[in-house]
């Protein structure tokens, strides 16, 4: 096809602009994922995985070892771990929403001049190392830590023990309580920011219209504000839930034996047991678990971009 000169020169620039990042992503994102899948179905030969496809004695052999996948489904530990990961991620998302929505709401309704300052105050901890802040909670919740003192002093630890989120009263560390607290704390800004972005752009005249038509402020909130902020809620929830499922650092520092999450199991299989195929299998299953929310997130991102154009 003989393209007019102008079109072909346009293509050159365009190819470079799309091509460079595309190649990068294919090589460093897609390819590793494919290799991950390969490892999960490979037979290990010393330290290298055996080739999946082999040509020997005139016979083309395709070896896919599914025993790792079978093993996971059979062994109770892994099933429970996945369930636990989903459970804690869901709990974290719930608490982030509970604390974060009113927070974002009041931020968006604050005086316009102080909103940038509020935004900065929310961002500031985000820019400070998250590792250090999680470590700080270790201190706060250990014996004689400030928060531990307050909770125990108020007798709330009895209530927490009754709820089953800590095993023994007086010990708040390395429990489901400390884990969810730590994760909620860390991921709170991820919930607040998209919600704030959404709520601050809401047209207040819609609320005025609702009030004019007879709705009380409370009703208007639930029938107008909340539905309109759906996009923000979804974005925030995805930004919290998906990474939480595979969290490693926080369970490691604040969790305990009863809060085993997939991230830690995978880490142990890889670093302690050196079982790369099993670790890969765990990773693939983790991806499968989050693929639905991940697709939702992608759809949201694409729609958000479309709406802007």
């Amino acid at each position: 096809m003989n393209l007019p000169r102008r079109v072909s020169s346009l293509l050159h620039g365009r190819t470079a602009v799309i091509g460079a990042p595309y190649l990068w992503l294919l090589a460093f994102f897609l390819l590793p994922f494919l290799i991950l899948v390969k490892y999960s179905v490979s037979e290990m030969e010393a330290v290298q995985p055996k080739d999946l496809v082999q040509f020997k004695d005139g016979l083309l052999q395709l070896t896919i070892k599914l025993s790792n996948y079978v093993f996971i489904t059979q062994d109770d530990l892994y099933f429970k771990t996945y369930l636990a990961s989903l459970k804690y991620a869901a709990a974290t998302t719930f608490f982030c929403l509970l604390i974060g929505y009113p927070f974002a709401y009041f931020m968006a309704r604050a005086k316009a001049t102080i909103q940038p300052a509020l935004l900065m105050l929310v961002m500031l901890p985000f820019w400070t190392s998250f590792l250090l802040r999680v470590y700080a909670w270790k201190g706060l919740l250990s014996a004689d830590g400030w928060v531990a003192d307050v909770v125990i002093g108020m007798g709330l630890d009895q209530m927490l023990a009754a709820l089953g989120v800590i095993s023994t009263p007086g010990n708040l560390m390395n429990t489901p309580f400390s884990l969810v607290l730590g994760m909620t704390y860390t991921y709170l800004p991820f919930m607040i920011l998209p919600l704030y972005g959404n709520l601050s752009k809401m047209d207040l005249r819609l609320l005025e219209a609702a009030l004019d038509l007879g709705a009380t402020p409370w009703t208007a909130f639930w029938t107008v504000t909340v539905p309109l902020s759906k996009a923000g809620i979804i974005a925030g929830s995805m930004l919290v839930f998906i990474p939480c499922v595979g969290e490693f650092v926080i369970p490691e520092l604040l969790g305990g034996p009863e809060t085993l999450m997939t991230g830690r199991v995978m880490w142990d299989e890889f670093f302690s047991n050196n079982d790369w195929p099993l670790a890969s299998t765990l990773a693939v299953v983790m991806i499968l678990l989050i693929i639905v929310p991940l697709a939702l997130f992608n759809k949201y991102q694409a729609e958000a971009q479309e709406r802007r154009t």
Binding site: P4, R5, R6, V7, L10
Partner: protein
């Protein structure tokens, strides 16, 4: 009135632009003479902006040719054509001063510094913004920004100047002044100009010829007066200004006159038309050509009708009446208020006679 093929400065031949099977511009051809101000007039979606963008080089035609002074420019990128555009949103570079904005195009050409200085100063003088050279766009008023945009688009002495809705959001007074200024500058520079607008007034006051566009096609091309007084189709008659459209049958078709009978009135028109007796036609009559009186006119058989005043809109210099006729049809009449204190002025509910002469109507067959 069209430029002849030989001296057509800008010739557009069979220009078509198709998007996914939809023809935004459909086989448009026109010759534009050097120094003309040519307007593309139509409502949004008619294809005028697409046509303009093809001239500028931002869209590639699906088929057809654009020949400017002998050169085919249909597939040349925008930075290589001797055509400059004044954008609808001005698109002044916010990070550059007025001076740098105007010099931008000259620098891209590789003009030496001395030449650039001379040209920019000349442009600033042309639009009377010499004192504002060092300011940035956000430090100017809307009218000043527009003048910078104009200066910038004229700096390279383009062979063709394109104007995209030049007078849009200005209020009436400012618009009138700017219209005159704009035309003066363009004529002073002597550049050929194609402008796009949805505003009829803008097109009629500024352009020497107008093309009325709809759905990608030219419906009629001509001088403003021609388009207004001799519309070729119902659409054009209705689009430009106000008009009364009366459907009827051609009763008499003679050499020097014809008669059309409509629901409420019989038209006697002082010229013949090509047509067959009995065919359906539409008579177009402009409101200002009608005279409104309380008393019946001398003869009421032709070109006269009685009705009741249902609506009245006072515009200061003229008043528009809406008359309801026997069949229920409405007739719009526009009367200039020449008398400061009229005796017994017509008002709502009054019965009145409307009459017009035999050369006021236009018979439309499309």
């Amino acid at each position: 009135m069209a430029a002849s093929g030989a001296d057509a400065f800008l010739r557009i031949e069979g220009l078509t632009k198709e998007f996914d099977g939809y023809k935004a511009v459909n086989n448009v051809s026109i010759d534009i003479a050097k120094g003309e101000i040519f307007a593309l007039l139509g409502s949004s979606g008619c294809g005028k902006s697409t046509l303009l963008r093809m001239l500028a080089g931002f869209e590639e035609p699906t088929s057809g040719r654009i020949v400017l002074d002998g050169q085919d420019l249909a597939h040349v990128p925008p930075y290589k054509v001797p055509i400059n555009m004044m954008f609808q949103s001005y698109a002044l570079f916010p990070h550059l001063t007025v001076w740098d904005n105007i010099a931008f195009g000259l620098r891209r050409e590789g003009m030496p510094a001395a030449g650039i200085e001379e040209r920019v100063e000349a442009m600033l003088k042309l639009v009377q913004l010499t004192k504002f050279a060092k300011r940035k766009p956000h430090q100017l008023s809307g009218g000043q920004q527009q003048r910078v945009a104009l200066a910038r688009s004229l700096a390279k002495r383009p062979q063709l100047l394109l104007l995209d809705e030049p007078l849009g959001a200005l209020d009436k007074k400012l618009r009138e002044e700017t219209q005159i200024e704009l035309v003066n500058i363009i004529e002073q520079v002597g550049v050929t100009c194609v402008m796009v607008t949805h505003d009829q007034e803008e097109a009629m006051t500024m352009a020497s010829r107008i093309a009325v566009m709809s759905e990608g096609r030219f419906l009629q091309v001509g001088a403003p007066a021609d388009i207004y007084e001799t519309p070729a189709t119902r659409f054009v008659a209705d689009f430009i200004g106000n008009v009364n459209l009366m459907d009827g049958t051609l009763d008499v078709d003679a050499e020097a006159h014809c008669e059309v009978s409509c629901a409420d009135v019989r038209h006697y028109i002082g010229h013949g038309i090509t047509g067959t007796r009995g065919m359906a036609v539409t008579v177009a009559l402009r409101p200002e050509k009608i005279k409104l009186t309380r008393e019946a006119p001398a003869q009421t058989a032709h070109n006269a009708v009685r009705g009741t005043i249902r609506e009245m809109s006072y515009f200061g210099s003229f008043t528009v009446f809406q008359l309801v006729l026997a069949s229920g049809a409405k007739l719009k009449v526009s009367q200039a208020n020449t008398d400061r204190h009229p005796e017994d002025p017509l008002t709502w509910g009054d019965e009145a006679w409307a009459r017009w002469d035999a050369w006021s109507q236009v018979v439309l067959t499309q």
